[in-house]
């Protein structure tokens, strides 16, 4: 409890600081939010927040952007922010809108702001409904931080009952969905209630900009906290008809640390109670028509995996060598081949491009550091990558079979990747088809050199005696 008290005290300090900063720099906001609804989904270790904002322009001039505010602690865990204008009809295609971080020097207490640029400016007295989805990772903190095998995992979730926003919010409600009915405690901010596996905060009326009220929810979450600390994906293109993918994983259970001894007998006999927070299998969704799949580690092949293929998708279910408890790690390698024609295309001007899925194929898994290496065939020129999100990009050279100058490698690096980022990215490059003959001609040349050596040897007279 002392920890919680300390935390509250710190939050109170933050609050005071926030308001004092706000008093000095209240920017003239011409927008206000009529109605805000926030649904926080805590059923997995990846926290998804669905925010519906009804924004009204109360100013004189049209507004082209809407700002979202995040507390600095949350901004660090923020993985993805997506926004779209609600059209009302489900059938209508939604147009995603650009969301990018903005630097506002006078934001109270370092609140991080994100700007949603509207497709068409919002005229005075008009309203627009925005649907925002943002995903937070590593926000659920296990408490107690160490548990034994038979205990259930409890986590803390810190947030604010009032939506942090640079605008005046007329009415707002927050729903928090928990994985089970078991909720140890939650901060009461009237009106708030708890029914089944949902906590409701609100509705709250008329709150000034940047107002917030910290809440702590202590809940049970036994879902697998599967985190890949580092994932290196190598995608090797061969113009002879194959795409070879090798993925190096460092998997960790990021939940409450395991305390005491691990009893295999107890784990096997009473799975429902003993080790309910551990996980022993993972599901990877691979592209269809996958072939030559392997799953191994430093020791050798791991036989506990199953592959199910269908024309639409392939599913690889694999078990690490041991069940993973909190803090336990497993390293392994997955490799597979894919037909080239499904992923490599040539545009009219002769530029070739690879169209492949970004992210990790595992479901419900966070990747702390993702490195994608696209190994282009030898002789490729001017490579450039087009990704749906900003990534770090650099070049390397790798050597493989029958290489002389080495293959160009496009390295893409991204931190904090969630399954929602599994969208397509492209790598464009130029390639002269004649270069494809380099490899066979090299082999032909080597054989020919051998024959020439024979001919030279047999035609040379090495004898000393004159004939």
């Amino acid at each position: 409890m002392t920890m919680e008290a300390k935390f509250r005290f710190r939050l109170a300090l933050v609050l005071v600081a926030a308001f004092s900063a706000l008093a000095g720099s209240n920017s003239n906001q011409d927008l206000q939010i009529i109605n805000a609804e926030r649904r926080i989904d805590l059923t997995s270790h990846i926290v998804k927040v669905y925010l519906t904002l009804q924004v009204e322009n109360t100013g004189e001039s049209p507004a082209s952007e809407v700002l979202l505010a995040f507390a600095p602690v949350q901004a660090e865990c923020l993985s993805l922010v997506k926004a779209q204008v609600a059209t009302g009809k489900r059938k209508k295609p939604h147009h995603p809108i650009d969301v990018k971080p903005v630097e506002v020097p006078n934001a109270p207490n370092g609140a991080k702001l994100f700007s949603i640029s509207l497709l068409k400016p919002l005229n005075p007295a008009e309203t627009v409904t925005l649907e925002v989805l943002y995903i937070l990772t590593h926000t659920l903190k296990p408490f107690p931080a160490e548990i034994s095998q038979s205990e259930s995992q409890l986590v803390y979730f810190h947030d604010t009952a009032l939506i942090l926003s640079p605008y005046h919010i007329k009415k707002q409600t927050t729903f928090i969905k928990t994985p089970t009915k078991r909720i140890e405690s939650f901060t009461v901010v009237d009106p708030s209630n708890h029914a089944n596996n949902e906590i409701k905060y609100g509705p709250y009326d008329s709150r000034p900009p940047y107002s917030f009220s910290p809440v702590v929810v202590h809940l049970e979450n036994n879902n697998p906290f599967s985190v890949v600390e580092e994932l290196v994906r190598e995608i090797e293109i061969s113009h002879w008809g194959s795409l070879q993918i090798t993925e190096h994983y460092t998997l960790v259970h990021a939940g409450a640390r395991h305390k005491g001894v691990f009893s295999r007998v107890e784990y096997q006999s009473r799975q429902a109670f003993a080790g309910s927070y551990s996980f022993k299998n993972l599901l990877a969704r691979l592209p269809p028509r996958v072939h030559s799949v392997y799953y191994r580690d430093e020791i050798g092949n791991i036989s506990s995996s199953r592959l199910r293929t269908s024309p639409q998708k392939s599913e690889l279910e694999l078990e690490p060598r041991y069940p993973l408890f909190g803090g336990w790690k497993a390293t392994f390698i997955i490799g597979y081949g894919l037909p080239l024609e499904d992923f490599l295309f040539e545009s009219l001007d002769g530029t070739r491009y690879l169209n492949f899925t970004f992210g990790c194929p595992f479901t419900d898994t966070v990747v702390d550091k993702l490195i994608i290496k696209v190994i282009l065939p030898e002789g490729s020129q001017d490579p450039h990558a087009i990704t749906p999100f900003p990534v770090e990009e650099r070049r390397e050279t790798s050597y493989s079979y029958l290489d002389i100058v080495g293959r160009t490698v496009v390295v893409l690096e991204k931190k904090n990747v969630v399954p929602e980022m599994n969208t397509a990215f492209q790598v464009y490059y130029k390639f002269n088809p004649l270069f494809q003959l380099a490899e066979p001609l090299m082999l032909v040349f080597v054989f020919f050199l051998g024959f020439m050596a024979c001919v030279t040897y047999l035609n040379t007279d090495l004898s000393i005696r004159k004939q």
Partner: protein, 78 residues
């Protein structure tokens, strides 16, 4: 979109790789054998350099492509 881009495929269908490897290596080895038979039977005086070179070139073309297809058929995509 569908008209402007076309998928890139291998120049030779993948299913032909094992057959091609066997046929080309067989031809290549036969020509190699004839090369060495010629080298061993013809005397130094009667040998023609042109015939030696052409036989060697033909054999190396078949052996070169044959070994490439052998690599590809084995799953070593170069």
């Amino acid at each position: 979109m569908a008209q402007s881009v076309k998928p890139v495929t291998s120049p030779v269908p993948i299913a032909w790789y094992p057959t091609l490897a066997v046929i080309m290596l067989a031809i290549g080895l036969t020509v190699t054998a004839s090369f060495f038979i010629y080298e061993a039977t013809a005397s130094r005086k009667s040998r023609s350099l042109f015939k030696e070179l052409t036989t060697g070139a033909v054999a190396s073309v078949f052996l070169g492509f044959g070994s490439l297809f052998l690599l590809l058929a084995c799953g070593v995509y170069v």
